[in-house]
Symmetry: C2
Subunit: 481 residues, 2 copies
């Protein structure tokens, strides 16, 4: 056991593997290009000793690696090296590895495969895994894959693919063990002993009747400690969490987290068992959800392959820049309406970005708090009034504190007490605006059934940028000019 | 089973529970205040029928709820209602519930309890759970808790508390089943049947020798399908992931995710089994990690109780506002150096926020990509050169496209082709600055062993704000004035 991997060693090991693979690839390509330049017939090239030797070393290395680790190495390789390595991976592992890599890298791998290879890779997968891969396959290949499946699996695949990405149905699998409630634990034990192995993440088996209606679950832990003469009905658990295939995956993930589940049954409307959701899929879902939130918050449409082309990156990032330019342009038009005031008192130009900036920061804090509380179901729209009161209070306090400090600074720098007062008043008013919009935007988005996590940040920044310079320059014009 | 909860129904149920509880609380307080105003002796008050009836209804309701669900209700209640409800929760459930609520709410609950209640609550918990709760308890209570523990548990608690929050040791538990490798599966089965129940999340039992050195693991699924005459040594798995107590929890979480683990053994340096990490703790860790990243990204120090006081919120949010004001103030000082140019060409004041804004957005995109790739271990510091090249390419492309569009707009609005050229050039240069700093900041932070996810965003915004206005106003002064 001393030699078994630990995560720390494991990451180092992985990076060592990566360097080894890169080294081998480099030598491999050197040999290949030498051989290639002399342009010998193809079979000679493959038989050249250096070529063969490196290829064998690489294949050996790959054979001993877990599919998730090969996926890691593929992600970290430049495109050309990635494709060479991919060709060396044993064909029967292609499917598993394609499931593990990110979307951007999966695309590059699929592009390098011909239809027959893709069909072969797909055939190694379970139906629920196939449902994740199929949408990325070329149209012609999808049809071949469907035709290669037995009827039952074809129906399962069609069902799994019919659910939106965020539904439990898209995450569930079809591998589970069922028993009847009138048999004894001894019978169940004998029955299970006939299996070569149980499906992964089997912490409980499902109890169904003749119509496959779910009657309860039998945790393996209960089976193991239970009396062999007891019936399943006497030992099974009936008040357990069950999911519907069209339940929202986010809510299912919350249930897994809240109750510490390892697996849960998925049933249809009459209560028939149709699938199973396991914690590993839930963990993947939580991770990918939080990653996509991070990317979206910074206007990145999807995960970027770090070695992707400049052009692919420009396309991935353009929409956020465009939206932000539009809001900046709006603020710019507001400023240009006060050009007269700025010429008379040029200090305004230097001070206005401060007023706009603090409003944006404060508004984003409010939105973060509120979107989170809504997402956790801790507040309802009806509580908006209480939230308004609190956020206005926070804004007022912050406005007086920070506005006061900056007002003093402005007074000191420009020797104008009136300018200092305008500064303080403008910051306070912009923070109040930020608080109002910070509550209002998510509440309105929710009211119209939209996800308040998307777009709230851009909207609040637009409000506080344009609003902030308008308030500041407007007040200054009224009071100072 | 038709009546069993599903997540969707469950959330609705929870919200119904919440409303029911609030309704009961309101009536409860109404009765109490009526009784209270007449100021009868205390026992009369408690015996008044309306009071008693509501209290019973509430207690019944609470008794049937899962601790995690009671925690949810407590989070969603105003402080006064929360305390009333908390007093009604059965004392023997206090400990579990305290573990489930957020830090901010936990603080309010602990404040309302006297030392004896806190010690009693702590005594209900396992050592690993206690390690989470103890840091929030008053000093005197901690000593009482320690003294109430048996020696072995006291040592476990001390050990668990000695690990930093982000270490595997802080997340592991001490409940696991061990067997010797030379016994048969039949013996193991008989041994396990003597348990009333197995510890939660037992998907495997650990195989140790006399010195408690870990030799392998025996998955329950293998035990169940295995031949009863086989020995444990013949069936156990030896190439499994093991953790050290001081391993980083983030890396352990990645291992759980990568290999779909339900539990893993935690060993010390000589290989002795000291604890166990389970997937439910890992899921909690992943969730709390991604939440704290979201909060940190918006400058919120901690989760805010939505009903906390204005003053608590101001304190939670102040540091981010302060830092951002400092960077905005720096940009303001840069602008004030160009007041002469602005007075001569006031359009500069209106256009400069656009240049600064697009730099900040673009820089944050670069940082998000790069911090993520480093965190996943996909790139090393040595690859910085390749990243620079790519990000500079993206910045140049974006600069020419968006700079071009805004240059045309500026030309159109202010009828000055030179101003349009300055605009385009300044946007391009600021995007290049953003790309350079967007790669450099995380690389430098990493080089000095700091977490690049913290503070990168503030730094890049400071660079692009001050840099952007400096580039734009400087170019304008050179070319136009």
């Amino acid at each position: 056991m001393v030699e078994s991997p630990t995560p720390k060693k494991e990451l180092e090991d992985l990076q060592e593997d990566l360097h080894k693979v890169q080294e081998l690839l480099r030598r491999h390509r050197l040999v290949e290009s030498l051989v290639h330049n002399q342009d010998p017939p193809r079979q000679d090239r493959a038989e050249s000793p250096g070529y063969k030797q490196n290829e064998t070393a690489l294949r050996d290395k790959l054979e001993r690696m877990h599919p998730a680790d090969i996926a890691y190495v593929l992600e970290a390789l430049r495109l050309d090296e990635r494709i060479i390595l991919w060709d060396l991976v044993k064909a029967e592992r292609d499917g598993e590895i394609l499931l593990e890599v990110s979307d951007a890298v999966r695309e590059t791998l699929i592009e390098s495969m011909d239809p027959a290879e893709l069909v072969a890779a797909a055939e190694q997968l379970d139906t629920d895994e196939l449902a994740d891969l199929v949408p990325d396959l070329p149209q012609g290949v999808i049809q071949d894959v469907f035709q290669s499946l037995p009827l039952e699996e074809r129906e399962q695949l069609r069902a799994a693919m019919s659910y939106p990405e965020d539904a439990v149905g898209a995450l569930m699998d079809f591998e589970f063990v069922t028993v009847r409630e009138d048999v004894t634990l001894a019978t169940v034990t004998r029955y299970l002993r006939r299996f070569d192995e149980l499906p992964d993440h089997t912490d409980q088996i499902f109890v169904v009747d003749r119509e496959e209606i779910l009657k309860g679950v039998l945790p393996l832990a209960r089976l193991i400690v239970g009396d062999l003469d007891d019936t399943v009905a006497g030992v099974m658990v009936t008040d357990t969490i069950t999911l519907y295939a069209d339940d929202n995956a986010q809510q299912a993930a919350q249930a897994f987290e809240r109750y510490g589940l390892v697996s849960a049954a998925v049933v249809d409307e009459p209560g028939k068992l149709v699938g199973r959701l396991t914690v590993d899929r839930v963990v993947d879902y939580i991770r990918s959800k939080s990653e996509s939130e991070l990317l979206t918050a910074n206007g990145l449409k999807e995960e970027e392959d770090i070695f992707s082309s400049v052009w692919a990156s420009v396309r991935n990032r353009w929409s956020w820049l465009a939206i932000n330019l539009i809001t900046a342009f709006m603020a710019s038009r507001v400023i240009s309406n006060f050009e007269g005031s700025i010429v008379k008192l040029v200090a305004l130009a230097a001070l206005m970005p401060i007023v706009a900036g603090i409003g944006g920061n404060s508004g984003n804090q409010t939105i973060t708090m509120i979107v989170r509380a809504f997402a956790l179901g801790q507040i309802q729209i009806e509580q908006a009034k209480e939230l308004f009161a609190k956020e206005l209070g926070v804004a007022l306090a912050n406005g007086l504190i920070w506005g006061g400090i900056l007002g003093l600074l402005a007074w000191g720098l420009y020797s104008s007490i009136a300018l200092g007062m305008v500064m303080m008043l403008a910051i306070t008013l912009n923070l109040l605006l930020a608080a109002i919009m910070g509550v209002l935007i998510p509440v309105v988005l929710l009211h119209f059934g939209r996800d308040p996590a998307l777009g709230s940040s851009v909207m609040i920044t637009a409000c506080t940028d344009s609003g902030g310079v308008f308030i500041f320059l407007g007040l200054a014009t009224l009071i100072l000019i």
